[in-house]
Structures are given as structure tokens and as C-alpha cells.
Assembly symmetry: C2
Homo-oligomer: 226 residues x 2
Amino acid sequence: MPAPDSITDKLDQIQSGRESRGQRTRLGLQEAALRLLGHDKSFSSLSLREVTREAGIVPTAFYRHYQTMEELGQDLVADSFRTLRQMIRSVRTDGLPSSGNMIQGTVQVLVQHIHANRLHFQFIARERFGGYSSLRASIRDEIHAFGQDLATDLAQFPILNRWDPESVQMLTTLMVNTMVSIAEQILEAPANDAAAEAEIVRRAERQMVFISLAVPAWKPKAAKPA
Amino acid sequence: MPAPDSITDKLDQIQSGRESRGQRTRLGLQEAALRLLGHDKSFSSLSLREVTREAGIVPTAFYRHYQTMEELGQDLVADSFRTLRQMIRSVRTDGLPSSGNMIQGTVQVLVQHIHANRLHFQFIARERFGGYSSLRASIRDEIHAFGQDLATDLAQFPILNRWDPESVQMLTTLMVNTMVSIAEQILEAPANDAAAEAEIVRRAERQMVFISLAVPAWKPKAAKPA
DNA sequence: GGTGTTAGTGAACGTGTGTACACATCCTAG
DNA sequence: CTAGGATGTGTACACACGTTCACTAACACC
């Protein structure tokens, strides 16, 4: 395969140990911040020195990677939603588990993903209405984009396919709100309390079923042109 | 009416100018904190000195009223939900406006109340998942209590009156979530943008109508004994 | 193999913070 | 009128903070 140097090769050249030194400590800063947010702290009450201390680095080295804490926050937002998009994509290719019931499968995937990325979700939940307005804006936009993504998946249902776009968006907003609420409940529940969590899941499923019952009764404004 | 000294009289004795000095500056601290939260700041990133400075008081005087900032926060939570309960009570006695349509009336009252108590709502939204776990817990409990309150009002509908309690709670949870979402959208929208706000209200009403469509289709577990 | 860029270090600064303490002022009760 | 508790003041200290600067170490490239 005498292919010419690709972008991937270029990247590999920079990497000495899987990642360049810079990338590694940059990642270290992100993880340090997330770890600190796990305890009782909001991002805006997190100090630069605290983060660098947790990352095992001298405070001034922070500036090699970010001009300000707000920039770190933006990076964390982007990262969190990147993993969320991976979740959607994997569902699209591999399908849902417990394939008989779509709602149960969806909730199950969501909960698993929350557990696998607990700190990311905690960060998003905490900063969605936190101190930095730029972070609030980014998160709002990302959640909206997630809703749009969900809408395209929902289009597989013939009924919804004939709805006007605004009605579809209303449905997705409602579902996203529910999913956000589920995430927040899971995060707030005492970790490792399986019983409490099962109860949350059960209620969430009932709630989603309830919402779905409204679908056949809804009269969209105008049929979508075929 | 030669009634004996009542509690009210006792209170009046303490008050020199409508409120005792202590009460006044205590209130000053609360308002100062709320004002500061209006700008880009979360409560946990608010410093004791900042609050006292805004309140026009020397830092050490803070301790005459609260042991810690967290205590101030608890006071603010209690205050915010006290005004919320007033809203419910006034609706119960005076009824909804635009009495023809219950959903429109409800949304209208909510939005008016948010504007009249913008800072309180902003505080709650910001601290619902903010840095202090004790505040998160208090807010969660208060919201839950609000839902219970709503449930009793919903019981005026005969259909719901025959639902099992858990189904009713699911409905109220869904409605409370929607109302919280409305509040958050209103707060996040640029203040004094009437058009944007009208759009939010319109969408919220549609969403509430949609939810209500599921009610007739829902099959509660068991009929409530008459 | 030397050289220049990139990433991390260490000391130092001015400023803001929480809290302790002794003191001044207000207001009420006797 | 005055004694005493409640409320607010001013000073002081030890510490954490963000940011500066000159420095060293690591690594990529010719």
C-alpha cells in the first residue's frame, strides 16, 4: 500500500506516546476539573490554582493551554456533547437493546451512558444554568442540536413524518426535556443505590409512554407535502 | 374590642420603622446577594465580602445574621418558594385570568410571576444544580411539594380524580417540569424582548395542550375507591 | 548534532478573602 | 435614666488567588 502520507500519518509523527505531551496535560487539566466538580463545587467557583494542583502541574503552565478558565469550560462542553453524539451514532448503527420496546431501550441506553460518563453529565447539569453565560449559551445550542438529531430519528415513524416541522420540534423538545430530567434525577440520586435508580427508570418509562399516548390525538397544523 | 395583646402587637413593639434594624439589614443581605446573582455569577462563587459590600455593610456584620453563606442560601430558597406559594394561593382565591382557557391562564400567571420575581427565579434556576448540595436538596424538596400542591388543584377534574395516586403524580411531575422549563427559557431570553417571549409562551401553551391530549388515553393502574 | 519551538518550572507581586477581636452604637426593659 | 443585649464598625492576620517574568527541560526538524 504505497499510499501518500495522510493526515493520520502527520498526526502520528507528532505523537510520541500515543499523544503529544501537550495533549496529555491538556487532557489532564480537563479531567482534573471534572473530578473537582464531582465534589460540591460549581465550575465558576473553581480556581485556576485548584485545577492545576489537582492536575499535578504548576499554576502558570495552565496558560500554555487556555487563556482563561472559561475556555477550559468551553472545551469541556464540547467534549461532553461529543460523547453524547457517539451514543446516538452507536444506537443508529447497532440498534437499541431490548428491541421489543423502544422506550425501554432508549431509557436503558441513556442511563448506561450517564453512568459511563457521570462526570461529564454532572458538569453539563451544573453549568446549564451556572455562572458563565457563554457556557450556558453553548450548552443550550448543543441541547437544541441534540433535539434536531432526535427529530431525524423520529422521522422513521410514518405518523410523525406527516407532521409539520414545528409540531415535530415540540415533540422532540418534550422528549429531550424528559431525558434531561432523567439525567438530573439519576445524578442526584445516591450513587450505587440500585433500588432508587430502578424506581427512577420505571417512572421515566411510564412518563415517556404517557407522552407517546398524545401523539395519535395531536392535530398538526398542516400535512407535510409528500 | 378589648382583646389581649396578640402576637402581632408583640411584633409591632419590636418594629421601630416597620421592621427592626436587624430584620432590615438581614433583608439587605438577601437582596444584595440576589442582585449580584443577576450578573454572571453563581451563588457558590459569591464571596461573603462581596455580599456585605453590596449591602453597604462591614464584612464582620454578616455573622450577626448568618453563620455561613450556605445559611444565607437556605434563606433565599425559603423566600423564593414562599412567594411561589403566594402565587398558587392567589390563583385559588381569585381564579385564573382569561378564564375561558385554563392552559393559557396558567401560563400567563406563571410568566407574570416570573417577571415580578425575576431574581428569585434566577437564583433557584442557578442553584437547582449548583454547587451547594444542601441547597440542591432543599430546592428539590420544595419543587416536589409544589407538585403535590398542584395535584390537589388537579383533583377538581373528575377524570383525574379516579386515577391512582402514582399516575397523578406522574402528570404533575410532567407539568412541573414543563413549567420549570418555561421559567428557564424566559430567564434565558434577552430581557424586554417581547417578541421572543411571546414565541416562548406560544410554544409552551402548545406543549401543555399536547400533554393534556394524553390524559383521556391513559389507563391508570386501578380506579381510586370512591 | 545543533537549533528553535513548545511545554513546564519557580519565585515574586498585588489583591481579595474568611475570620478573630476589641470597640462603638443603637434600642429596649426595668 | 440607665444597664445590657443586639447590631454594626475598624483593625489585623494568615492565606489563597490570578498573573508577571525569567528560567529550564523536552521534543521536532534541518
